[in-house]
Symmetry: C2
């Protein structure tokens, strides 16, 4: 059994380096009483970095790992170096039961491959999926998965993603029966690929699952707050997530241009700044950081490669919430019910 | 040979009805001197509607078609009714050489199926693609295709889309060698599906095409103005387009909330309103209306189902520009060169 009070952090991964990772951990530590951290990476560098964060002293332990996975390293090469890298050792802490979750800002493909090999998929799951929360107009965020772990999927994978995503939504957003939809290019029954249509048929007939299947959703309604979980293959999910990020930044850039286009608009901007600052915070990817690989026997979270210390703290916060809610076990329970129902 | 001064308009298709279509035509007529319109649909209804637009008198002719394709009609059913419907008859005007292009705001699937059956694909094209212009931070818009005509594609389809998209960019944006990229979930060579990687290899080796192949692009860079043409399968393209539309609206809604959240921000909003109004115009889908089916022996354009009269006029404007530039012939020329080069 994993020790739930510990989270293993890959201190070396990510574009921003060790200092940002440690600052993120220090922030998270203030938010989560009782949480403790295994800081995985080059021991002397981490020790040096910790002098800036005396408050972490008794809440953190260093786990030495001499090597780092680079951002462009292929998954195959990374796997061979798992045992000596900060990423691989952080995942191993979860496997060995020393930590309830591992968090890394490093190379996504390598993280996925290592996590899958070390932790293996849960019974009933053929492939894990990467899930994250996106902001909406509604009260809650929406869980979207898969965001890039599986370029191509079968219908059964989509069904498993739906079950896992629903469990995630129940745990993180306290929902009884999350509204689940499949991402598609139209809302009519005959739209999309065969895999999506077959997955829809399977979900429609699975009445006893703790979710409400709501059919298909198109890309323009992702952020409306009408669904709690949106399920797709990893290719479309990655395109949708990144297009949403890019468009939000695009509109922000245009807005900046508009506000600086005349003296009058600059004045208007200064006056309305507190309000637009709230908007900026709401859309900042750092405030939605922390994607999780669902479907493994253990929790591994991906923090954005360019996350700042607030982003890192948020990813750790997501991990802490999942660990405390025992997400992995609850997903396993849901999957077992689903299999029993199918067999009945 | 199609008569280039005439554009056939499906006067009955679309959610907004005949009055909006006619108002759109009347607007377009002011912008394009010498352009004339075949208004296709129920004759007496169109005649009644025209009383509001006396300026269209000598520039428009009515072509009677008693039936209308409904928004949720399946393509197969629509095909059987092609000859009596406003959509089918408008396409037939292109086939018969009476018009240089057809424009419809009706059912996309039906329009695609009818256009393909009536006009057939060009030599060298296996499947037509739906292309549209999206706004960017740069000087020009970006051509994106396919946006939903082909749920699944092979590598050769993507290559053909690239050739057609480049021709489109050359014609509509006066570019010599458009920068073409494939939409993918990473920029490294090994990312994405086999089809995408094979298409990239083929495009990299096609040196004599009037385009600059720029490799892969991710969803977050669609609007940066770094590319002129972005190529993808119809599923991802539709997801990306709609996610971009939805996110722009989402940010706009949040902005509205922010501006109305306090008296102070309301005042700021009123002062900066002229600037934010420009932004609103820039993002209004009506100002980017008009997607075209590329790869057919004739031009058929899809106007957004919910387009207002400005949107309809813009779609007709895109059609007029394409007709005058002889887009279909130029695409055919490019394809012939590509085939010759492959054979050499």
């Amino acid at each position: 059994m994993a020790d739930k009070s510990w989270i293993a952090v890959d201190a070396m991964g990510g574009d921003e380096g060790l200092a940002v990772m440690l600052a993120g951990v220090a922030r998270a530590r203030h938010r989560f009483e009782g949480m403790k951290f295994l800081l995985v990476g080059e021991e002397s560098a981490i020790r040096d970095g910790l002098t800036k964060h005396p408050n972490l002293g008794e809440h953190a332990e260093i786990v030495h790992a001499p090597d780092v996975i680079s951002g462009d390293e292929k998954a195959g090469a990374a796997l061979r170096r798992a045992k000596t890298t900060s990423m691989g050792v952080a995942i191993d802490c979860v496997k060995q039961g020393r930590a309830g979750a591992a968090v890394s800002s490093g190379n996504t493909g390598a993280l996925m491959a290592m996590a899958k090999l070390a932790l293996r998929t849960m019974p009933g799951i053929d492939r894990p999926a990467l899930a994250a929360l996106l902001p909406t107009l509604g009260e809650n965020d929406v869980v979207v998965l898969d965001l890039g772990a599986n370029t191509e999927v079968e219908a059964k994978n989509l069904v498993q993603f739906a079950v896992m995503g629903a469990a995630y939504a129940r745990v993180t957003m306290d929902l009884e029966s999350p509204r689940v939809a499949l991402l598609n290019i139209g809302s009519e029954d005959q739209k999309g690929t065969e895999e999506i249509r077959d997955a829809a048929a399977a979900l429609r007939s699975a009445n006893h699952l703790p979710m409400t299947f709501a059919g298909f959703v198109e890309g323009d309604r992702l952020s409306r707050g009408e669904h709690d979980v949106i399920v797709c293959d990893g290719f479309s999910g990655n395109i949708a997530l990144k297009t949403a990020e890019g468009t939000a930044r695009f509109v922000g850039d245009l807005l900046k241009r508009a506000f600086t286009s005349s003296v009058r608009s600059k004045i208007g901007f200064l006056i309305s700044r507190p309000a637009t600052q709230l908007l900026r915070d709401h859309l900042d990817p750092n405030n939605h950081n922390g994607a999780v690989f669902l479907g493994l026997n253990g929790l591994v979270l991906k923090s954005h490669g360019s996350a700042n210390e607030i982003g890192v703290a948020n990813a750790i916060g997501v991990a802490a919430k999942m660990v405390q809610a025992d997400l992995a076990r609850r997903i396993a329970d849901d999957l077992r019910h689903f299999e029993q129902e199918k067999a009945a």
